[in-house]
């Protein structure tokens, strides 16, 4: 192994109280494909952003090819031979491929020569790496896979020797992903160094030489890919955290409250995010949907709760259909007893500029209890808010305080109190404890169990595997928009981790 292409020594980066990168040391040998894996929020993207000049590290040193290098802006990174393919492509959509490639690397004030140069250079790169792209095509008319190729070409055109790819297969079909891997291998053979950030272990095993695992802002291990296993990596990724076990008795499931059949949901770009998903939730049980973020869970619950239109499929609530492909409306569903704690409480579940009591009626503001004719019954609203503040121990106990002034945990309790106290038959909960302090987590978990024991059907979505495991009576695993397996709560972390990472072998073995 030759000299290291990149060395990171003692990198630290904090955002306020969040220590996103903690004493990171990493050595990436030249001419290799190096994988960096970790759960969402483990600090991978922050680390790569530091390397590409988006953020500056609070402390630590970066060496490129052995030379200590200061990277303050993307320009510095480009000059040091580092190129990056962002998860969300940095392309101008109504530009041609050529225009995108020369943007920022035009060379001179007039475009004519630089375009001609880019055209011949592109031709060379195409032949060398098998990166075929029509240079005059307009970006928005190209499939995502090709757009990504343009991003790679952009980096190569700038003379990148080190290429960072951030979750490159997230938006690709399996065939496109395979093609990408062939390209990456070819690049490696030409002597380029590639850093692959992903949470998909299958990809790591398929093409990397070495792999580093990050967890909670620290670099926990680096292995040679040949000498490690998916099981080991999964365990390193998830770690052996203190399990927040919740006291709960056995579930006593009743009739089916919520039935989802062959649901298909696409996002704004038309990418299928939920692909033919079917499952049901019974009264008195908690069904957890496990999965790495971005595998369709968000779109799934948005479609069920009437926020997002589904393309096809049916959903039955208490045996009666919800018009998920047509007119389903969150207000109507609330009336029918479906409550929803959304994943994003800052922008969806709450209006942060509102007073606490105003948020305690969001979505239920047309309920007669809160109205006097067409006027809001302010006293009733505030009294109601106060009783929820008492019941859920929301602090500070001030229903007139602006919601933005509450801590994350207390904000979440405001949402939970609102949704649970409506006595719904079905409760959909997204990321109930994201950004919530430990004390509040326990409280929230106990409440969810209590809901279950009252005979409610609870559908839980969380990227925290622990949470899913400790709360759920049944666990459904989603990967790439599909349900790839169902397990009982006794399933091991490793087993679930493999499913979440899209390792099909296990599935096949069953």
């Amino acid at each position: 192994m030759g000299q290291a292409a990149i060395e990171l020594i003692g990198i630290n980066k904090s955002f306020g109280a969040v220590h996103a990168n903690r004493d990171i040391n990493l050595e990436i040998p030249r001419g290799t494909i190096h994988g960096i894996v970790g759960e969402n929020g483990a600090g991978k993207s922050t680390l790569m952003s530091i390397l590409y000049g988006f953020y500056q590290a609070d402390s630590g040193e970066i060496r490129v090819n052995g030379q200590p290098t200061t990277i303050r802006t993307s320009n510095d990174a480009i000059a040091a031979g580092i190129g990056m393919v962002h998860q969300h492509f940095m392309l101008v959509e109504n530009f041609s491929v050529l225009e995108n490639i020369i943007l920022g690397a035009e060379g001179e004030a007039l475009l004519k020569k630089s375009i001609a140069k880019a055209r011949s250079e592109l031709d060379r790169l195409e032949r060398e790496y098998g990166l075929e792209v029509d240079p005059d095509a307009i970006i928005e008319e190209l499939p995502v896979g090709i757009q990504q190729r343009v991003e790679i070409l952009k980096a190569l055109y700038r003379g990148a020797e080190i290429l960072i790819l951030d979750e490159p297969t997230g938006v690709l079909t399996p065939a496109e992903a395979d093609h990408l891997f062939r390209i990456l291998k070819q690049l490696k053979e030409q002597g380029k160094t590639i850093v692959l950030i992903t949470h998909k272990l299958r990809e790591i095993m398929a093409i990397t030489d070495n792999v580093s695992v990050m967890r909670q802002g620290t670099m926990v291990a680096t292995r040679q890919t040949k000498q490690t296993t998916v099981e080991e990596l999964a365990e390193l990724m998830v770690g052996r955290r203190v399990l927040l076990r919740v006291e709960k008795g056995a579930a006593n499931p009743g009739g089916v409250k919520l039935a989802v059949n062959n649901l298909v949901v696409r996002d704004q770009r038309g990418v299928t995010m939920v692909d033919d998903v079917s499952f049901e939730v019974r009264a008195g049980e908690i069904v957890g949907i496990a999965g790495v973020a971005g595998n369709g869970q968000s779109e799934l619950i948005e479609a069920i709760s009437g926020i997002r239109r589904a393309v096809s499929g049916t959903v039955l609530l208490d045996g009666k259909p919800i018009d998920v492909t047509g007119t389903a409306d969150p207000g109507e569903l609330r009336d029918r007893g479906l409550a929803h704690v959304p994943e994003d409480r800052h922008h969806v579940g709450l209006v942060l500029a509102f007073e606490e009591n105003e948020n305690s009626i969001l979505g239920y503001h047309d309920d007669v209890r809160y109205l006097k004719g067409f006027l809001l019954d302010v006293d009733a609203i505030r009294n109601d808010a106060k009783s929820k503040i008492d019941g859920y121990d929301i602090r500070p106990p001030d229903c007139r305080l602006r919601t933005a002034n509450f801590s994350g945990g207390n904000q979440q309790k405001i949402v939970l109190a609102r949704e649970m106290e409506q006595d719904p038959g079905v409760l959909i909960v997204g990321q109930p404890t994201r950004g919530v302090d430990v004390g509040a987590i326990e409280f929230i978990h106990k409440r969810l169990i209590a809901m279950r024991d009252q005979g409610k059907a609870v559908l839980l979505i969380s990227v925290e595997l622990d949470e899913i495991r400790s709360l759920s009576d049944r666990i459904v695993v989603m990967f790439a928009g599909r349900i790839v397996g169902e397990r009982g709560p006794e399933a091991s972390e490793g087993e679930l981790g493999l499913l979440m990472a899209g390792v099909e072998q296990l599935e096949a073995a069953e």
């Binding site: 802006t73 993307s74 530009f95 995108n100 943007l103």
Partner: protein
């Protein structure tokens, strides 16, 4: 022959009336293509008109006047930049503010300096841009049709008018054939792409506004130093907004902009010409209808009933570096 003369005269006034629109429209094009909405075109034209006429009459030079018009107009463009780029303020609000400050200050300063009720002194020969007779125009004057077209329609406009029409191919060339143009178009669509390519979004947008300032200055100078021999209170009279409408109508493209401005200028010329004259079939067309037509057409276009006007995608949104 009478009809022919009438047509030539209408077309000639069409050209004259479209010049300020065209300059302002191209000015808006630079700004909006870079992602900065600019409803302050009106105000920048107005201060340009005032500064131009004021300086020209004080220094007895049309060119000093023009220089001043451009300078002051740029200064106002920079205020817009300071509010909307540096401080990420609301671009619409900032534009409205600029229009007010311009409307008030031109009159106040004009009155204080020249004591003519907000007007500037009438400009004499060397202080304004007189019409340029193109070479040979007098010689071919009597050649029917072609000669007349050349000598009466194309010849006899001021320097600024010729600059305005020259700016169309120049702007096209800048936009599509230069590095600056490439980046300008990119930053209005996806500033993050520009930023990750190692280009400063802020500096790029300020440069776009600089171009806007130059062109609105020219537009203002045309109003007060060519069309009119001096500055008159509120002399832009909504031209900045018509230019904005033309820009939308042109779908933010330079050559289209020229045709849109010519169309709107033509409507204006026709309105003046037809005042009181009944048309065959349609009968008498109210002059107000002709005046409102550019706005009505723009609303119809915006509503997506005739084609679709898609503004630069990043328009109106302050760029915040974020990942």
């Amino acid at each position: 022959m009478d009809i022919f003369n009438a047509v030539i005269q209408t077309l000639d006034s069409t050209l004259r009336l479209s010049v300020p629109l065209l300059l302002a429209c191209l000015a808006g094009l630079y700004s909006e293509r870079s992602g900065i909405f600019d409803i302050g075109l009106e105000g920048k034209m107005l201060v340009g008109a005032f500064a131009g006429a004021a300086a020209a009459s004080v220094f007895h030079s049309a060119f000093i006047g023009l220089g001043m018009a451009i300078l002051i107009s740029i200064a106002f463009a920079m205020i817009h930049g300071f509010a909307s780029i540096t401080h990420r303020g609301n671009q619409i609000v900032s534009g409205v503010a600029i229009n007010f400050i311009a409307a008030g200050s031109t009159v106040i300063l004009g009155q204080a300096w020249f004591h003519q009720g907000g007007r500037t002194p009438a400009l004499s020969e060397g202080e304004r841009f007189s019409s340029i007779t193109l070479p040979g125009a007098n010689a071919v004057k009597d050649v029917p049709v072609i000669g007349q077209l050349y000598s009466e329609l194309l010849s006899g406009h001021s320097l600024i008018a010729y600059i305005a029409f020259a700016m169309v191919p120049i702007t096209w060339w800048v936009l599509y054939r230069t590095r600056f143009g490439l980046r300008l178009r990119a930053v209005g669509e996806n500033p993050a792409a520009v930023d990750t390519a190692g280009i400063s979004v802020t500096w790029l947008r300020y440069r776009a506004l600089l171009c806007t300032g130059v062109l609105t200055g020219l537009a203002g100078a045309y109003l007060s130093m060519t069309q009119n021999g001096g500055f008159v209170k509120d002399m832009t009279a909504g031209k900045g907004y018509i230019a904005l409408a033309a820009l939308i109508f042109a779908k933010w493209k330079p050559v289209n902009a020229m045709f849109a401005c010519l169309l709107f200028g033509f409507l204006d010329a026709l309105a003046i010409r037809l005042q009181g004259t009944p048309l065959p079939i349609i009968g008498k067309v109210p002059v107000q209808f002709m005046q409102a037509l550019p706005y009505i057409l723009t609303v119809v276009l915006l509503a997506g009933f005739i084609g679709k006007a898609i503004p630069p995608r990043a328009g109106g949104v302050p760029y915040v570096k974020e990942r």
